[in-house]
Symmetry: C2
Subunit: 409 residues, 2 copies
């Protein structure tokens, strides 16, 4: 079902020196699937992360924040699918902590050097004993070239594993940026999506890494929506192992800093778009561009209003150029002093609306032609400023309902 | 498909002296259906209305506002289905005005004494000539007991006509309140829904009528949502013909004023709930109550977050007590300092969540029992104040997608 999203070729996923990944079957929710991932990080690795803004954030998110604040030097991640350990109260915190302790013990680390991540069903107790029992197999599987296997092991309703990788030259060294992500529903990240991991072997100063993870999230995962439901578990992690041996990058306004930033953002954007392409039930990939706004924030507000409208999304599913639904979503986006007489709307290259009304030259068959495509750009011009914003989303199909009605059964 | 919503019995719909309704086939969009309604109002009738907050409000909404502001004394309404005359720019305004002029001419009125209402497809030109050609038949059909016929003639994707009626004694006179509504999709009224008309023969002072239409909208149509899409055409009209002969009601804090207010609100609430019961594809009627908030506004914010979540709505459709989705929606409702450890959740009488985690005594089969019902109450306690709010919604089913994917074909 995924829209123009092939399974990555393992040969295209460059290993990141200093980062090893191991996968195992722990039987967290279902038997016979690899649902446990351990990632180990070489000594000296820098890490930065952003998490969901959902106030009902999951236990692993709370433990991650605590362990990052302890500044003991993160050396391992433990990731399970099948159970999100969210809405689980104090018991959930204890179970996330116990998972970290068990992995720390086997690696000779402190528990605060381990970050836990969980995805899957909400409000059920995390089966810690099964995860702990699976750790030795995951550790035995550790290898630098297991990115694709890890991308598979973090899937829930995803239909395609998501990974991206690039190499650039920095300070005379080949530097790699490789990442994976998952997520197909409960997707409207308010910080990052559940889950994205990007690693580089570049050496980067800690403060710059924290700035970069926030900027990359804002320009990738924070621009997508599938159903408007912000997850309890969203986490986006950026890892810099430093093994490339370059002089540590301390600012973006150097050539090397700019190149690393662009590369990380490009990988994050590809991973974020992959989540939309594999959105639950998705048959179309939609880019919503809003320009002519007084601020980027109001452009984003209008773009999300369009991208969240069930009526707009079902029209895309039906390939029906019922474009008045887009105007309605612009109108209720909450811009109090919007003047409808200034609005223009394009569907790809087709000017549909001018000055707030139907373009006299618009022909239904032109709209129909664009709506039948698997990739469509909606462009709304607000006519009141020079700012713009872009959001990516997908359509709403029978299969979205089917997948979410059947999810736990 | 409508949830516990029978077709009204015409004998239960009391005529309102001074208000006559006539219906005709105008062929606005489809042949062979009654799609045009004219309502005439006796001299001296007071009228007040509230309209959509959508900035892309439709041409008829703009004309209504202009004609109400002219204070010429509204004497007639003209309502078509099949075409919403929205997203139509200046041409749409001209067409709505021409419809009013044509009816005004036949009734010997000024155009500003007529209010136009349109519902149906957005962004297509209103076929004024067909509506004007249908007016004589509608006028010939005028009668005080045609409320049910009018309720049928304003339907779009509605499956059941919606009407409600009550009688009370005020100032020694029998006073009637009768109303109709329509709407099944693009429903998240930000003022009133498209369309609601309530009439009484009580005499009411104009200022009080304006206060009452706002309060009734806020306590009925502004508490419902089907898909979160605020329509371009929402209109709620309250008519007081004064024919009951009571002393004009000038304030709510008299016994008569309070009784009229309660009666109008009860009728409006029944009409608003009828819209949800007949929501596109609805199989369940859901009441979302949020209490323990610091303000009614934050309770409403949380209630709408739950009521708009596609994941929550598909879980209701599936009768699956996947209640973590409700917690997630509480968490992303935008209450910045919400403490998840204080949250409680009930499903009807079943305590599911206590102190932010799963109630140890909760059994899946108890949740399952409630979820299988056709009427369900979700109650969330925020544990931070004493305010509350209620919102009514429905589930999200295959048929919602089907109806909206097929709407124009």
């Amino acid at each position: 079902m995924a829209v123009n999203l092939p399974t990555p070729n393992p040969r295209d996923l460059h290993p990141v020196p200093g980062v090893r990944l191991g996968i195992a079957e722990a039987g967290v929710r279902k038997a016979g699937r690899r649902d446990l991932t351990v990632v180990t990080l070489a000594e000296g690795t820098q890490i930065a992360a952003v998490f969901t803004q959902n106030r009902f954030c999951a236990a692993p998110v709370q433990v991650c924040r605590k362990h990052l604040a302890a500044e003991a030097g993160i050396r391992a991640l433990v990731i399970n699918t099948g159970n999100a350990n969210a809405g689980t109260g104090d018991d959930g915190l204890a179970r996330a902590g116990a998972t970290c302790s068990a992995l720390a013990q086997q690696l000779g680390l402190a528990a605060t050097q381990v970050l836990p991540f969980s995805t899957g069903v909400v409000m059920e107790a995390l089966p810690v004993e099964r995860i702990v029992a699976g750790l030795p197999a995951a550790l035995a599987d550790l290898a630098e070239d297991h990115w694709l296997q890890a991308a598979e092991a973090i899937m829930t309703t995803d239909t395609v594993p998501k990974a991206a990788s690039r190499q650039v030259t920095i300070d005379g060294r080949t530097v790699t940026v490789t990442g994976i992500s998952k997520g197909a529903g409960m997707i409207r990240p308010a910080m990052a999506t559940m889950l994205g991991f990007v690693a580089t072997d570049a050496a980067v100063e800690p403060a710059l890494l924290r700035a970069l993870v926030a900027e990359a999230a804002d320009r990738s995962f924070n621009r997508i929506t599938i159903d408007g439901d912000t997850s309890t578990n969203d986490s986006f992690v950026l890892i810099a192992s430093g093994q490339a041996g370059n002089a540590p990058i301390a600012q973006f306004d150097s050539a090397d800093g700019a190149l690393l930033r662009d590369t990380v953002i490009a990988v994050a954007e590809q991973l974020a778009q992959a989540i939309v392409r594999d959105g639950e039930g998705a048959t179309k990939f939609i880019t919503v561009q809003v320009d002519g706004g007084r601020s980027a924030a109001e452009c984003r507000q209008v773009a999300y209003s369009i991208a969240h409208s069930p009526l707009v999304k079902t029209a895309f599913f039906a390939s029906d150029p019922n474009l008045g639904r887009i105007l309605a979503a612009v109108g209720y986006a909450g811009i109090a002093d919007l003047d409808q007489a200034l609005i223009a709307l394009h569907l790809d290259d087709v000017p549909v609306v001018v000055r707030g009304g139907r373009n006299p030259a618009y022909r239904e068959e032109d709209g129909q032609r664009v709506m039948k495509q698997s990739e469509i750009t909606v462009r709304v011009s607000l006519g009141r400023g020079s700012e713009q914003a872009t959001v990516w989303t997908c359509d709403l199909s029978y299969d979205y309902v089917k997948i979410n009605a059947d999810y736990r059964s």
